[in-house]
Structure formats: structure tokens, C-alpha cells
Symmetry: C2
Subunit: 326 residues, 2 copies
């Protein structure tokens, strides 16, 4: 199943509420980009229009069903996600994202830091209108986690002693926290949720986020470049130690003893290290771990009193994380 | 009166509540810096310990009097202020602030962007505990304004056509908005305030912020370096067009016709342009405008039912903005 087909299936399983919710989300995101001065408009419109899968808003709507605050929450989590992407592009000096010039490339470092800050602020401005203190709490915890994840990643760069546990902790912070918050916001602001739902749905989002990040890291090693749009081993080149390398180091003692900085200084060398990682079987092992998280995600839905169409749609979204990388 | 003496006077006019509030603010800021992972602690502790005047928390406490949420608000506005400083240092490539190495200098660009993001997030995490939706609204509007101000400043860099109105709009965004929000938060969360107080006190904060920024910009031109700790004309060197230059351009046609980029490429040249600006009388005119804002700030207190000690303390704080630059 292609990912476009998968989205169609989710939309139909999620019912008209999801499709309408996502349309309103797009419209509101465009309003935010245009409503805060010409300077933001110039930089943010491109970033917003470049789209993306809107996975986090999908989680909000599917976990919430119907409810007045859901649109605010969907817009807020996407704004926060975009703010973090804009800042990541500053750190990585990235010039393209989703085929569109980054704010960093078109406006420079200053404009990109400020644009990220503004998108960030607008996320809170959007969500506070729900007047839900637990909702603002969930967003501020997630946004703290994103920033902490970035700090941990910087601190661990080029390290030869990052454990799988430490790696997973970083995935929790950088990725799973916002997926979990999206699901929790849906539960908090949906008309038909109970407090118990919020924890179970957050757990669903968290597991899905972990799988998402692990598979993204596998793809960086496996390629192929024609599919990913970038050469293999970009993580190796900037010193980011991910699960495939950690597992491969445990299986290939010679690889474990090598200094990453000395080993990888060109895309060609990075490709060679990727091949070496792949030969250890580490990619299969990492994929298996991701699949376990997807299974756990789906298991956390059991016992919830969700309408069958929304449960199915959530399961499809979780499976979609795997499909995307299949 | 030295600024240390002035603070003493304010503290005694503000009563024990202010002194206790500021002590608790320091303690809580230290907790925040230490409570979010070793990575934040390493970078933020220095920034926090470097101190500063804590003018924004002072506004919160003096405008609020007593109230459970005031400490949260004081910590939140200072965290937001620090987040913006950490990001500003990335944009300016600054290596020292208040005599202490910046996060940018000690940790690099990545650590500084992420540290700013984290301080930013903690500001919202702190304030949402007040469960006051208008309070979160005030903070998110101020934080949006800070980022917009930065974008406007970037957009206007090196321009030969920045008007005084445009300059003041930028000061509103970059500086006055957070002073206004600090005063408003005090009013919103103080035990004895009314909605009318909130607008008048926000207006006080706004005017004080405008004066603060204008005088800061005058000082960049006037020096002397022994007092400011930096050479004159740093704004000129990075293309930031401020009120002294705008006014001088109106008084010295030759200066108006000159391209700033061609004119200023070394600290020595910047010093010469500063002298030329000073000869037009623009510094006195800009100072006068700042003094007018201080007078307006104090006028907005009239008619408020404030305890006399707090009114006096607020007037002292406003005068302190001028004293600082006298």
C-alpha cells in the first residue's frame, strides 16, 4: 500500500471529522503564517506550504474525535513541530527540506532562529485559547522535551559510548514526546474522553513516535538515496550516534574500536560505514525493535472505549509508520 | 545615586514583599536551570548566575503586590528574557555577556539555539501553573512580539529609509512588549488588582520599555567604552538603524546620503560615525524622547488605587531607567 493510499484509508476509517479537521488545520496554519507581519509571512509561508504528513494533527483528531479545542491543539502541535524543524535546519545548516529552500537558506541564520521562535510562540498562543491548563502543560512539557533532546544529541555527538538506552531516551525527548502530547491533547480536549483514555492514548503516541524515529534512523543507513533524497549516512557525518551504529558496534568489535570522526569525513566514507553496519544485521535488529513498539502502541488501545472506526484508523496510522519504511 | 543605591531605595519603598519575591525568584531560576538535565544545567547555570537587574520580575512584584501566582510570573518573564538573550547571542555571534561567556561561546550554535528553546518552554511551563488563561495569553503575545521584533530588525538592517515610527514599532516589539506583559501579569495575578489596573500598568511597563530601549541605543553611540564594556557603534557595525542615526540623518544631509555598509567596516570607522551623529545633537533629542516616555509612564499611574509605597517604588524604577544612562 502506498502512503497516499494509506492516508486515504485512514481518512475514510477516521470518518468525515478527520478530513474536515485536517482541512481546517491547513487553513488555520496559513492564517497564522500570514497574520503576524510581512516578515513572518515571507519566511513561514514556504515552510507551511511545504506540507508534510501532518501526522501529529492526525493523532489529535483521531484521539479526540470531536471537540471544540481539537483544531487549536492540532494547529499548536504542528506549529511546534515546524518551529523545531526550522531550528534544526539552522543547526544542520540545511538548505532544502521537502524540496523547498529552508528559512535558513532563504533568510539566513537570524531570520531562521527568529522565525522558529515566532512559530513556537504562536503554538502557545493557539492552545491557550482552549483555556485548558492540562493542555498547556502537555504542550510545554513536549516543547521542553524537544529542546532537551536536541541538547542531549549535541552532547552525545561523536561519542563511542552511547548506549541503546541513552539513544532511546533521546528518541523519547526528540520525537516520542510530541507524538504522545498530540494524542494526550486529543484525549484531553475530545468530547468523549476520560482521564484514563489520556494516559493510554499518550502511551500509543509515545510508542508510535519511538518506532518512527528508529525507522527514520534505519533509513539513513539503508537508503537508497533515490528514495530518501539524500546520501546515506548523513547522521554519521554529523556525529549523531543512532541505534543501527550502536547495535553494529556490539556485533563488530573492530567497528566498536574505531573513532567515528576519523572514520567518516566524506559521503563516500559514510556510505562504506553504512555498508559495514548493514553487514552486521543491525538494520534488521533495529527494524524489529521498531515493530515491537508499533505492536505495543496498538496494544495500548485495547480496553479503551473507542468507536471502532477511530480504533481502526489509529491502528492504520501506527502501521503506516512501518509501511513508510517498508 | 548609583544603581545599587537606587535598587536599595526601590526595595525599601517596595517593602519586604518585593525583596522576598526577588529572593524566591533567584532560588526558583536556579532550580529550573538545574532541574532539566545535565545538558541544560551546564549551559543555563552560567547565564542565570550572570544575573542582571531582574527589572521584569521587579515590575511583576510591584504591579501585583501580593498573590500566589506572582512568583510564577516573575520567573516566567525572566526565563523568556533570558531565552531571547541566548538566541540574540547566536545571531550576533557574541562571546561575552555581563562578563560571562555566552552559551554560544561555550557550547556552540546548536547548544545555544536549543538552550534558548528550553528556557522558552520552561517559561510557559512555569506560568501555566497559575491556571490563568489571560496570563498565558499575555506571555505568548509578548514572546511572539520578541520574535517579530527580531525579524523586523533583520529586515531593516542596513536600510537608509528606516523612519522613527518604524524604529519605535521595533522597540515596541523587541523590548516594550515584555515590560508591558510583566506589568500586566502582576496586575492579573495580584490579589488587589482590577481589570482597569491591568491596562494602566501595562501602559506604564510599555512606556518604561520604550525609554529603556531608546537610552540603550543612545549609549551605544555615546559610550564611553570604559562604562559600557564595548566599543562605540556596535549597532552601526551590524547594520542596526537606531533613533540616534535616524535623527542625525534628518539633521545632516550628507550623512543621510551615505551608505551605512560602505561607511562602517571597522570599530574605528564606527567611532567616527558616532562622533558625527553626536555633533548633530541627535543624542540629546533621543534622550529627550526617552524622558518623555518615562514621564508618560509615571502619568499612567495617576488615578490607580495603588498603595503609596508601591507607587513610589514604580516611579523610582522608571526614574532608574534614566539614572542608569545619566
Amino acid at each position: 500500500m502506498s502512503s497516499a493510499d494509506a492516508l486515504e484509508t485512514v481518512l475514510s476509517a477516521g470518518g468525515g471529522d478527520l478530513a474536515r479537521g485536517l482541512q481546517s488545520t491547513e487553513a488555520r496554519l496559513a492564517e497564522v503564517a500570514e497574520g503576524h507581519g510581512a516578515e513572518l509571512g515571507r519566511h513561514a509561508t514556504g515552510t507551511l506550504a511545504a506540507g508534510g504528513k501532518r501526522l501529529r494533527p492526525v493523532l489529535v483528531f483521531l484521539c479526540g474525535g470531536t471537540g471544540e479545542g481539537l483544531l487549536r491543539a492540532a494547529v499548536a502541535v504542528e506549529l511546534l513541530h515546524m518551529a523545531s524543524l526550522v531550528h534544526d535546519d539552522v543547526l544542520d545548516g540545511a538548505s532544502l527540506r521537502r524540496g523547498v529552500p529552508t528559512v535558513f537558506a532563504s533568510g539566513g541564520r537570524g531570520a531562521a532562529v527568529a522565525t522558529g521562535d515566532l512559530l513556537f510562540s504562536r503554538a502557545f498562543a493557539e492552545l491557550r485559547r482552549t483555556s485548558s491548563e492540562p493542555a498547556v502543560a502537555a504542550l510545554s512539557e513536549a516543547s521542553s522535551a524537544l529542546a532537551r533532546g536536541e541538547l542531549v544529541q549535541r552532547a552525545d555527538a561523536w561519542s563511542d559510548s552511547v548506549s541503546a538506552e541513552r539513544y532511546l531516551q533521546r528518541c523519547e525527548l526528540k520525537t516520542a514526546s510530541l507524538f504522545a502530547a498530540s494524542a494526550r491533547l486529543g484525549a484531553l480536549l475530545g468530547d468523549d474522553s476520560t482521564p484514563r483514555d489520556a494516559d493510554a492514548l499518550a502511551s500509543f503516541g509515545r510508542r508510535m513516535g519511538l518506532a518512527f524515529q528508529i525507522l527514520d534512523d534505519v533509513l539513513d543507513v539503508s537508503g537508497p538515496p533515490e528514495r530518501t533524497g539524500k546520501h546515506r549516512g548523513t547522521d554519521l557525518l554529523d556525529g549523531t550516534v543512532t541505534l543501527p551504529l550502536i547495535l553494529a558496534r556490539g556485533r563488530d568489535p573492530e567497528l566498536a574500536g574505531m573513532d567515528l570522526r576519523a572514520l567518516v569525513s566524506s559521503p563516500e566514507q559514510a556510505g562504506a560505514v553504512c555498508d559495514r553496519i548493514a553487514r552486521t544485521g543491525a538494520l534488521e535488529a533495529a527494524r524489529e525493535e521498531a515493530h515491537d513498539h508499533v505492536a505495543e502502541a496498538k496494544a495500548s488501545l485495547s480496553g479503551l472505549d473507542l468507536p471502532e472506526s477511530r480504533r481502526q484508523a489509529l491502528e492504520l496510522v501506527a502501521d503506516g509508520v512501518v509501511e513508510r519504511y517498508a
